[in-house]
């Protein structure tokens, strides 16, 4: 019974969301408001429990200066960050600039995470896999595919090659070869975007079919309940 009730709630919500297809309306807005509120409440609840259980309780139980410091630093930085929530008309809002230190910490750590992730997670593996795609011992089609991948990668990357110049200078002119190479690079990117578009459409259609299928499943269950 509880399961059926859950299915009914999900189905009603789905229909309310799908009502957007008839145009923006109150049912869609109500469903969206419910979802956004629940998602925000859930996320902040989990975050608050994490800080409370893992850090505040830990700080209170900490023994020794190094241990206490390890707990205190993020909590103090977090408290400074909270100053940013006050409007500039209030005193605490006027000193919100102190919170820049906490934001600086987040940005600094984030930059390091991003740089290492981009290099070790994307750049180096992609370079290796692109080069290795060209294998002479795997037949004609494999060589052709490898060559196309290699060409697409190099030209796609070349497309973003910029000619930096100061604002006062005229931009350096491109040779006809450069122009043609860039257009070829753009063509590869257009093909990639077309493929991504079809991928996005396919995944959205899959979600649509799954939602519709669940509606059908609920209808069947309700009919069987009524029929006894």
């Amino acid at each position: 019974m509880t399961e059926t009730l859950g299915l009914i709630v999900g189905a009603v919500l789905t229909l309310m969301v799908f009502s957007y297809l008839l145009g923006d309306n109150v049912l869609y807005r109500w469903a969206l408001a419910l979802l956004v509120g629940a998602a925000a409440g859930y996320a902040v609840g989990v975050a608050a429990r994490y800080v409370l259980n893992d850090w505040i309780v830990g700080a209170l139980a900490a023994q020794g200066a190094p241990d206490s410091l390890a707990y205190a630093v993020p909590l103090v930085l977090g408290a400074l960050l909270l100053l940013k929530g006050f409007p500039p008309t209030r005193f605490l809002g006027r000193i919100a600039v102190i919170g820049n230190s906490s934001l600086g910490y987040l940005v600094g750590v984030g930059a390091a995470v991003a740089v290492s992730g981009a290099l070790v997670g994307t750049l180096i593996p992609q370079v290796t896999v692109t080069g290795e795609a060209l294998r002479i011992d795997e037949g004609g089609l494999a060589i052709a595919q490898g060559a196309v991948v290699l060409l697409g990668t190099v030209l796609g990357l070349y497309y973003f090659h910029t000619r930096p110049h100061t604002h006062r200078d005229a931009p350096p002119s491109k040779t006809p070869v450069q122009q043609k190479t860039e257009r070829l690079g753009m063509a590869f990117i257009a093909i990639a975007l077309g493929t991504a578009f079809s991928g996005a459409l396919t995944s959205a259609l899959t979600a649509l079919v799954l939602r519709l299928w669940q509606l059908v499943e609920l209808a069947e269950r309700l009919i069987s309940l009524v029929a006894g």
């Binding site: 969206l32 998602a39 925000a40 991003a114 740089v115 180096i124 080069g131 795609a133 973003f160 995944s203």
Partner: protein, 273 residues
């Protein structure tokens, strides 16, 4: 381990290139200023003309004046790129590309609506707009409601931020940052509202959702998003970044070609041996 060392090498090359190109660019700018004695106003005017690398960034500032005259506002959807993820740098680059827009908006006191789908990005966007007012000496005029955290997941963020475009008098809608296919919901709202569109993304899915509705001059594709700072400010560090990125680009292309060469020749050598 091997990959980490290669990455460390690339980091060192990148840092070295940034420093060298930065110093060179700074010397060039100083020489240019002293040769024709241009003051700050002229420098700002030059900055408005932009570096000519990605013209879409230039349209942003033009939109501020246009919507202000029409009594409307600009809505900038910054996406869900949190500062502790790889997308964090995408979000930071997007905000740098919007620097001129936020400054001009603060000067006209027609702040844009900035929406985000990540709490850390929300704080950064809030700091940027707050600072734009503070630099003008009108910190009290800043209205915190203009920067909004819409929802904590990308799909709900896009759906909720799209309602802002529908409800408020939005004349221009800019999608700039880390998006996937959910960007399509934001574009749909802007098209329904007949708002002017501009922006860009870095992921193929996000770009493919923007591609059909944005013209060539309105769309910022992939790496172009990182050129925003160079386009809207006159800072030599941003121009140096473009040069450093080009240097790394050639190294990457070289790396690909070397890897391909080894892959091609390897089996032949094995066969011969």
């Amino acid at each position: 381990m091997e990959n980490q060392l290669i990455a460390l090498g690339l980091v060192l090359i990148g840092a070295f290139a940034l420093s060298i190109y930065g110093m060179r660019q700074q010397r060039k700018s100083k020489r240019a200023r002293s040769s024709d004695g241009q003051d700050g106003v002229e420098a700002a005017a030059r900055a408005e003309r932009g570096a000519g690398v990605v013209p879409a960034f230039q349209t942003f500032t033009a939109e501020v004046g246009r919507v202000a005259e029409a009594g409307q506002a600009v809505h900038v959807a910054l996406g869900s790129g949190g500062l502790l993820s790889e997308d964090g740098m995408v979000s930071i680059a997007a905000l740098q590309g919007l620097a001129a827009l936020t400054k001009l908006s603060a000067a006209y006191d027609t702040p844009p609506y900035l929406t985000t789908g990540d709490p850390t990005l929300y704080l950064l966007a809030d700091t940027q707009l707050r600072d734009a007012y503070a630099r003008l000496g009108t910190a009290q005029g800043y209205r915190p409601g203009c920067v909004r955290f819409s929802a904590p997941t990308p799909t709900l963020y896009a759906a909720q931020a799209a309602t802002l475009t529908l409800d408020e008098p939005v004349g221009t809608h800019i999608n700039l940052g880390a998006f996937d296919q959910e960007a399509s919901l934001l574009v749909d709202a802007a098209v329904t509202k007949k708002a002017k569109l501009a922006g860009g993304a870095v992921s193929p899915a996000g770009l493919s959702a923007l591609y059909p509705d944005l013209t060539e001059r309105q769309l910022i594709i992939g790496e172009e998003l990182f050129a925003g700072g160079a386009e809207v400010t006159d800072r030599s560090a941003f121009l140096a970044s473009l040069a450093a990125a080009n240097l790394l680009r050639w190294l990457v292309i070289l790396g690909i070609l070397v890897a391909a060469g080894i892959s091609l020749v390897g089996p032949l050598l094995e066969g011969g041996g």
